[in-house]
């Protein structure tokens, strides 16, 4: 087969080829280094151009829908409301089950809290507590942050609703009630401040991760495209903070790999990852473009069933762009696009069963996005503004 032309390469990237033609083109790319390099370059331009176009977002939702056709405003078509309440109940149920199952561990941690906190400095950073939590964690998953908030509510409303009685890490009532309340309030304030500082540091570390050097893509023996090394190769990486970069030529999986301990941690906390996909496949799933967080370097991309992602449309696939920060926490940018997405103008903040937060919103009539992680709501909102 002669070298591929620009039309073929672009059509493959845009998922415009028939399955037979696509297979033929991929087979050629597998055996032609020159065409493979041109393919990678074209893919890099696609990703970057798409990101740039999306910088030009419409300033606000269009409002003049009815003014041309009808002199009087027409009633809005019935829309399915975002199931916030149902999701909150589901989250509360999952949290209740989690609390019941891990009750012993939480009780041990609380009993130890007054002595350990008396010895620590007043503004102990959240990362220290998380490091302690990680070392104590057994095989079953546990929240990465301090003990999870009250079930069935957003993080903020949970802290307000219980009046401080069950604030995370509040000391046991071994002292007078008034003094304990003051101490718990001070502790909550210091915890919030330190957590914001930790979030800001985490965001800074994620942004500072250097981009990877360009490498040529190659398919595995089954013909599935894997960037860099074949999927079966062992993955070793010395530093989880040196996350993978989005280069001008697309994602790279081969430059660095996670340590065995990080893989074990991820498996224990998030479950085994069985649906990693290439950027190209993700772009195709989303109909030709993908959203990324500007300034951050993704680790990898996953494909998930819409039914397994809270807030997503069950009938559509979810593409998850996974970012890492230093304390081995993951930040997820989930996205869907398609005619099954039912758009609203609401932005929703949910509490995940593991205590993390999820900020969800719609982009246009057929796009859904979710930004999830163990960050504060403010931090998620800041990052959401950088989604392009």
């Amino acid at each position: 087969m002669p070298h591929l032309d620009e039309e073929q390469i672009t059509a493959l990237l845009d998922n415009e080829l028939s399955p037979a033609d696509a297979r033929q083109v991929r087979e050629h790319l597998a055996g032609c280094a020159e065409c493979a390099a041109r393919f990678e370059e074209a893919r890099g331009f696609l990703v970057e151009a798409d990101r740039l176009v999306r910088v030009l977002e419409f300033p606000e939702a269009p409002t003049k829908i009815q003014s041309v056709a009808d002199p009087e405003p027409a009633p809005r078509p019935a829309r399915r409301p975002f199931p916030t309440r149902q999701l909150a109940w589901a989250a509360s149920l999952l949290l209740a089950i989690g609390f019941g199952y891990y009750g012993n561990e939480l009780r041990v941690r609380r009993i130890a809290a007054p002595e350990s906190q008396a010895a620590k400095p007043a503004a102990a950073p959240a990362a220290d507590r998380e490091a302690d939590a990680l070392t104590e964690t057994k095989a079953a998953p546990a929240p990465l942050t301090a003990p999870a908030p009250a079930p069935g509510a957003k993080l903020e409303s949970a802290l307000q609703k219980d009046g401080g009685k069950t604030r995370p890490e509040s000391p046991q009532p071994s002292v007078g009630g008034g003094l304990a309340n003051e101490q718990s309030k001070d502790k909550a304030l210091r915890r919030d401040e330190s957590r914001r500082a930790t979030d800001a540091a985490a965001i800074g570390q994620m942004a500072a991760a250097p981009p990877a050097a360009a490498k040529q893509a190659a398919p595995d023996t089954a013909g599935r495209w894997i960037d860099g090394v074949p999927a079966a190769a062992p993955r070793e990486r010395a530093d989880s903070a040196s996350a993978l970069g989005v280069t001008p030529n697309g994602f790279e999986d081969s430059r660095t790999s996670p340590t065995a301990s990080r893989e074990a941690f991820r498996s224990s906390h998030y479950g085994p990852v069985t649906s990693k996909v290439t950027l190209e496949e993700a772009v195709q799933t989303l109909g030709g473009s993908i959203r990324l967080i500007d300034g951050l370097t993704p680790d990898h991309v996953e494909w998930l069933n819409g039914r397994t992602v809270a807030g997503a449309q069950p009938e559509l696939a979810v593409i998850r762009v996974v970012y890492l920060d230093a304390p081995m926490r993951e930040l997820w940018l989930d996205q869907q696009r398609g005619k099954g997405v039912i758009a609203t103008t609401d932005t929703v903040l949910l509490t995940r069963p593991d205590g993390g937060l999820s900020l969800q919103w719609h982009t246009g009539p057929d796009g859904w996005l979710s930004l999830s992680g163990h960050l504060t709501a403010d931090s998620l909102r800041i990052l959401a503004r950088q989604v392009r």
Binding site: E6, Q8, A49, L56, E57, A69, R337
Partner: protein, 166 residues
């Protein structure tokens, strides 16, 4: 208004006005052009609405081009002067700089290339882009490839100049 037109309105209006905004850089003008497009569709309902609507809209942009661009620039300046409850000043400046740079890079593209790129960003497939722009389907891939490359290269050149100047 017929039920079908109502359906078309809700289905295509947000995408149309977004594409027009990216094409013109003026929110109000984009909405006005979108409304005028649908007004024409009311007079002669199209059989294949999506390419028809976007083709009419792009024709309106071209017909109204020079005067509307000047007006759009004045409106942009006015909008920047108004106080807003936006986030931190440095973040706003960065976003505004990036928007300006992207728009300038987009303006370096040939008209057809730019329009093909914007239609692709709205989820058009090759058949629809070809029908909207009056091009052969076999040329769409090459058009998009050229547009993407030129947009990225123009943007990078601007960023390089901007950093060198600062």
């Amino acid at each position: 208004m017929t039920e079908r037109m109502t359906q078309l309105y809700h289905e295509f209006y947000p995408s149309l006005v977004r594409m027009l905004y990216r094409r013109t850089g003026d929110r109000d003008r984009a909405e006005d052009l979108a409304q005028e497009t649908f007004a024409r569709a009311l007079q002669a309902p199209p059989d294949n609405p999506r390419p028809w609507l976007f083709a009419v809209a792009l024709n309106l942009v071209r017909d109204d081009g020079r005067r509307a661009v000047r007006q759009g620039r004045r409106l942009e300046l006015y909008r920047e002067e108004r106080p807003s409850s936006a986030p931190a000043p440095d973040q706003t400046m960065d976003e505004a700089d990036q928007t300006t740079a992207v728009r300038a890079a987009l303006d370096t593209l040939a008209t057809r290339d730019r329009e093909a790129l914007l239609l692709k960003a709205e989820g058009f497939d090759y058949d629809e882009i070809a029908a909207t722009l009056g091009l052969a389907k076999g040329a769409i891939g090459t058009t998009l490839s050229r547009a993407r490359r030129r947009l990225v290269e123009a943007y990078r050149a601007q960023e390089k100049d901007r950093h060198a100047a600062s």
